[in-house]
Symmetry: C2
Subunit: 882 residues, 2 copies
């Protein structure tokens, strides 16, 4: 028996994706549910492979099977293909296993010819409609299927309109459209040297072959090569009967949700329009009616819809977003899919579905996009105002939320404006630690350079402040205090708005509204906590942030960057003295001056965390980040140190590095200047003793950053250990502390077996690990990422979502080797990826103990961790999330 | 039967390293050869383990065996331990399997007490000598074995000398020395509460136990942890009879080479001094005599020496460097080792040894340190002048050779001085591509910053110019045109000298002499070429360098950096126009202007290489390296482009990157601006066609730099391939070209299986790969490396010698995955490691096809490759080389 190359929708189901393609399998699934959908059939991916392998000839077997399917379809639809009375028209669409751009576009109204167009004009009583469809079909078929240049048609059409004095297409009547279709057929004849095919079957074979060939075109070839899609997969072809909502007052179109997508309330919610097609609703020619009114206008259709709506919700176990068409008083479903809703609605619906017994708590957890929780924690734009606004630029959405304010270009100006009560947007080429105070008072931050883990992005996320980074299209004049973007110039004090989620910049004021956290949120998060295995900690540097993070459910601190505490006005000169010290003695003295401050900082955090573990990273950044820049600063230092400003400037200059990210930073500082590590260890242990004496258990985890070598780590560990033992030997209080390291350099991954001999914990610093593994600086990634995402080279920014291929393999190597040496090695992640759902899923599968992220991402991490645990238990891959 | 814990030298041999330690095994080996060496015995490493495991008590068994060994030694030496007449004195030294600092120092003259010192005074007729030895022994034993503070002895000794009016030790006579020894014994008694041990056996047991305990001290513990030496190894103890060359005119000492170490001539060569000890020769109290004179002075001893000298050369099959002592007309060998010689001597000796039938050609190849060949290709200091010179600083020996000249601080000043006929040393904080012309005219280059692969180091090695980099101790005032180092200030025009091999800076003129390449060199290198499997290519950017490299034996070009051709005065403005272009159209026009130059460059190189393969890397460095800096440059560009200087400066500023090494460079440029890759490909193929038409085969290998992703590589490969096909389709000439990539980013190593599907060759860019794997910038490595080498964290600089642990594992992963996908994948290395012997050995074992290095390193690479192949064939590890 011959192979089966053609399946009626009725013959398939949702599992037959490989053979029928994604679209075909979905149409079959809906048919199986009994839904009224325009029927049709699928020519399989195997037919495509056969066609392209056998010299691009369609076999008679395939043709015969298509003919048989058309015959069945004619029977179902009670119409006849190419008929002069009641013609069957079809759409033809490509549909491969994976969604693939570069494949053939849709051809509508296939089956039209002179006689069937005439029949359509008569049956609809609307010749203009019929011939408009016909001339469109001729052009679409000629262009998409045959490859005649579209512009030839467009040019002639413009000339025709001019000739008859028509401004728009709508000004043409039926006769004129008919005349256009005649002219179009002539264009085809002149170009191809033969008549436009009037035989419906011939049209169909040609269209199916064109879809098959499009699998083999260059765009598809490149796309497949880039995405590793095997040539053998091939594409299927979907042939489906046309239905029309614009056939009169007994026809219509609608878009309907099974529940309210904004609030989550259980009510059918949507719009419809009679005697119209979907496009008309979009074009806004008339105002559609609320769907509820259909109940009065056509209760039979309304009731039928409600019945199917219920079937779909029960089948897909989720709120549905449906497109329908009514043709001559008959209801058709064109599409259904799980609806996109607001975060608040998503939570409510998920909880309601559990209450209705439709899904379990775990199912509910799997339904909500973890990233969407951001909406609940940050301001969002007023929707009405947003619709009217015009975007002037788009860059990286580095920290979510919506912000609106006046632009300022320096930290000082921003502070001054905020003191005057203004709402501020800070615009900088890039930010550095000395901008912290300006960032704190801003509603939003916009930078020209830098990627998803640039300084601005990191700090903004930690503060919960909206931020867009890497907006390279900006021409910034910092001195002149203005910038140009999207053709306009924005001066100091001008108002702009930022969408930190999408990365879109608006050159005008858009109102924002605060999100409200409802009781649903607490219920939902408690379910998440029951399901997850991964711990969730936070990255934070102050007692205030620690409080906030505990409110969001953090179970400890995974990263405290001790250097972030150094930018206070009072402290900065003291650390500058330390940095510019020429001798160990000078440096030791400067460290002594800093000890009190550090101790106070750590004590504050230990108290705020009330017994939860706190990981403190020793001094990490390149020293010259702290170096004085203004003459005034140098003069202050000259007084403090008794050195000349010339001498101090020379020393500062000597600290300059060409690639500071790979320079004298991290534990390299402690190797060169062990006295700094001694001072910090002393501060940590003395603070711990002090707080523990007040009855709060303290569990400091001292973290050595940037390890790339075993001996190097051991050197610094010895310094820390010796100091800690000395401090503890002088006190009656016992403090349980750990010493471990960041794993953030590729070499440390390879050496993890050795390093774990001495390190009690590893924390993956995936920001740096990603930088080094890719060789891409997060500070300079802006332009690169924009180009790479635009050219589809990167699907996602690897600084935002963990690259599971290479960075992931390095982490895997590290985990395996580390745990082999030390089975109870504590493993966490404190890079920014710790707050990204798909990265969290990877961490779960890797067997880490916890993830750590900025306070505002803690709820996202809790949900994502739960989703990973559930998927893991179910043996599923978490393809859909994040 | 009890375990054997003590071996007489006669009972051991060179293979018993684990049991007897390195030193003990060597003494046994020489004894086995029949050499007259002061006899003795070894207490084994197992005795050490036993001691430390059993609560630090020496077992009776060990004591008994030591007693027995002493008895045998007394018999051999015909002396008696602790005797009042003819006392046997011994030295006690530690000696573990691996050489280990932090272990116990030597104790000499053990066995002395009041009576044996008296006997010694009588037998030598020199009481001062006897009691000087005695008081030294008391102090050494008290300090090293017992741990009495040495300063107590030193203080008292000073006071005594002052009291008797002696300026130096030498002013004290025998009686006074005897008095000092009495005082020393009292110090011991006061400190320890018991008398200084007068029993020789007791002294010996104590000393042996002290060596055992030193295995367990903190310094040794840290060292072992750092070097992964198991605690279980333990240390052995060597007990050896003392001999004295200062016992009268029938005694003496000498240092002798079996051949001339400077020229390699076959003649006994050395110095001796009668009635003296080794230290006296070093101290230069008297002038030693040429060893040949001993033939007249004591023909019997001379002949005996010559006989043993011959035995040693035949045994070790190499030129020997020997220390001898004559005690009372009896010859003793204290030590022999393979001699260090000049490179010229090493070649001559190796070739002579082959001629003499002592070794094979392959043995000869294994004897010469490949790195030493550098000496033959670069100037060296005049030895006499060097001896008198004082070092003022030491940093990284970045490019070998010796240089002397006047210091200049800018490229322009250097050029002007060179035109005046001066010899120039260029001193810079760091160099950048625009310094090239200044570097070309300089004898030597000295930089404050940067490591072994900094710009200065790379370019200097390629030019064969001496260079010292990372001299952080320099305080450089570029504006004032002076620097301070070693306490002195050097102004423009002052003369300094640089040793680019050792990294030492001298603040004065030292004459240099050119090395001469003899016929031995050609013979030797031809043997190397017969043995090696690895190909050797060169990294070079000009036809002149290509010529030079072919002269050194290069078999192709492994890396041409196309950007190095852009710094010509005529071309720089044109590339600057390209870089500052705002639109694709502008950029394409600028590329067109560059095409002719590039084509000319490539054609020149293709011709020079006369048919050998040439790998050309597409534009790699961050664009802002080329950006104009001076107002004058901006004005030239303003004229060329019709833009304002303000506009051009803004654009230049926007190109600035924070970490350019991980910024918008490499193939990222080609992704953003494919027109640059198109232009370069066009130039390569058009040049290839032109040269091929002249009858010279051209094999261009187009290399895409900095790949970190498969799609990214494929994107750029498509641009190159499409352009190449277009060019070739227009020509009748066929050109065989390849397209491949650098592997220099950790991620590319992990993805090698995928990348090899599309890449025809890989070239490991281990400079960048090392940077990324360690997270250390080569431009900023100077300070880090100095600190790390000083603290013994790094044994070698990983930018100079390939890190086989992590960088090596990444390369291994890449090779395995790449060859799995494409078994005939061509593999090379073009990082600086390609010229380092141990790195070359690693590349050999990894199965690479070739190494590529700067022209002056080509001979080193040829020899190193041969050594690897021989070692591989012999199943040996190449531990000794490079």
């Amino acid at each position: 028996m011959a192979e089966k190359y053609v399946y009626m929708f009725k013959e398939g189901d949702g599992t037959m994706r490989n053979l029928l393609g994604g679209k075909g399998a979905n149409l079959a699934e809906m048919t199986a549910l009994g839904l009224p959908i325009p029927q049709g059939f699928v020519v399989t991916t195997e037919a495509c492979t056969l066609y392209n392998k056998s010299g691009r000839v369609m076999s008679d077997e395939v043709k015969n099977q298509i003919d048989a399917a058309i015959a069945k379809l004619e029977q179902i639809e009670d119409k006849k293909f190419g008929d002069a009375q009641n013609p069957l028209l079809v759409s033809v669409r490509s549909g491969s296993r994976a969604s693939m751009p570069g494949m053939m576009d849709t051809v509508l109204n296939l089956g039209l010819n002179d006689v069937s167009a005439d029949a359509m004009a008569k049956s609809t009583g609307n010749p203009r409609f019929a011939y408009d469809n016909y001339r469109r079909f001729i052009m679409m078929f000629s262009d998409v299927v045959i490859g005649v240049d579209k512009h030839k048609f467009e040019k002639v059409f413009s000339e025709y309109k001019e000739k008859v004095g028509a401004k728009e297409d709508l000004d043409l009547n039926g006769d004129q459209m008919k005349e256009v279709s005649e002219i179009f057929k002539k264009i085809y004849r002149d170009d191809q040297g033969r008549d436009f095919p009037s035989d419906a079957k011939e049209q169909l074979y040609e269209a199916v072959c064109a879809v098959f060939r499009s699998w083999d075109n260059e765009r598809a070839f490149i796309y497949r090569r880039m995405h590793d899609i095997p040539y053998e997969w091939g594409t299927a072809v979907n042939v489906q009967a046309m239905v029309f909502g614009n056939m009169g007052d007994d026809s219509g179109t609608g878009v309907v949700f099974s529940r309210n997508a904004a609030t989550g309330e259980k009510e059918i919610y949507g719009e419809y329009m009679m005697n119209a097609q979907g496009e008309d609703v979009v074009a806004g020619l008339r105002t559609p009616k609320p769907f509820a009114e259909l109940k009065d206008e056509n209760p039979r259709i309304y009731d039928e819809f409600v019945k199917w709506c219920d079937v779909l919700e029960k089948h897909y176990k989720d709120v549905q977003d449906m497109e329908i068409t009514i043709e001559r008083d008959k209801l058709y479903f064109l599409q259904t899919r799980n609806a996109k809703t607001t975060a608040a609605a998503a939570l409510r619906i998920a909880i309601d579905l559990v209450k209705e017994g439709l899904i379990t708590e775990e199912d509910a957890l799997m339904k909500v996009d973890a990233k969407q929780l951001d909406q609940l924690l940050h301001p969002v734009f007023d929707e009405a105002a947003l619709k009217k606004a015009t975007a002037i630029g788009k860059a990286l959405g580095a920290s979510p939320g919506a912000a609106c304010g006046k632009v300022y270009f320096t930290s000082e100006d921003a502070e001054a404006a905020a003191e005057r009560g203004e709402k501020v947007i800070l615009v900088r080429s890039e930010t550095s630690p000395e901008d912290i105070r300006g960032m704190q008072v801003s509603e939003g931050i916009l930078t020209v350079k830098g990627g998803m883990t640039s300084h601005a992005a990191l700090v903004a996320r930690q503060m919960g402040t909206c931020c867009i980074s890497g907006c390279e299209a900006i021409k910034l004049n910092e001195a002149g205090k203005f910038f140009t973007l999207g053709g306009n110039t924005y001066k100091e004090g001008d108002v702009i708005s930022l969408d930190g989620t999408s990365g879109v910049v608006y050159g005008e004021a858009i109102g924002t509204v605060e999100s409200e956290i409802s009781g649903d949120f607490a219920t939902f998060m408690s379910w998440a906590d029951k399901s997850r295995r991964l711990g969730v900690r936070t990255n934070c540097d102050t007692p205030e942030d620690a409080q906030k993070a505990i409110g969001f459910g953090a179970e400890g601190i995974g990263l405290t960057r001790s250097e972030h505490m150094f930018f206070d006005k009072e402290r900065l000169p003291k650390i500058q003295v330390m940095i510019l010290a020429e001798t160990t003695q000078e440096r030791r003295k400067a460290c002594d001056d800093l000890l009190g401050f550090q101790k106070e900082d750590y004590a504050g955090i230990f108290k705020a965390m009330g017994g939860l573990p706190v990981t403190i990273r020793l001094l990490d950044p390149p020293l010259h980040e702290f170096v004085p820049k203004s003459d005034q600063e140098f003069e202050i230092l000259a007084k403090l140190t008794g050195k000349s400003t010339t001498e101090l400037k020379e020393k500062s200059h000597a600290l300059h590095e060409i690639n500071p990210m790979m320079g004298h930073r991290g534990l390299r500082l402690a190797v060169s200047y062990p006295e700094i590590a001694e001072m910090q260890t002393t501060a940590i242990l003395e603070a711990a003793i002090e707080v523990q004496n007040k009855g709060i258990t303290v569990k400091p985890e001292i973290m050595i950053p940037l390890t790339c070598d075993t001996k190097e780590y051991n050197f610094v560990k010895s310094v820390v250990e010796k100091t800690a033992k000395e401090i503890l030997s002088k006190s009656a209080t016992k403090v349980e502390y750990m010493i471990g390291t960041m794993i953030e350099i590729p070499r440390a991954c390879m050496l993890s077996g050795e390093i774990a001999k001495e390190a009690e914990f590893f924390s993956f610093g995936t920001n740096d690990l990603t930088q080094m593994t890719y060789g891409i600086s997060r500070d300079d990634a802006g332009k690169i990422m924009v180009d790479y995402l635009e050219r589809n080279i990167f699907e996602v920014d690897p600084t935002a979502r963990l690259d599971q291929i290479a960075v992931g393999e390095l982490m895997k190597i590290s985990v395996e080797r580390g745990r082999k040496t030390r089975p109870d090695l504590k493993l966490g992640i404190c890079g920014e990826h710790g707050g990204d759902p798909s990265s969290i899923d990877f961490c779960h599968r890797l067997g880490l103990d916890y993830v750590s992220c900025s306070p505002y991402r803690v709820p996202i991490a809790r949900l994502a961790a739960a989703q990973s645990a559930i998927a893991d238990k179910r043996g599923e891959a978490l393809v859909s999330i994040g």
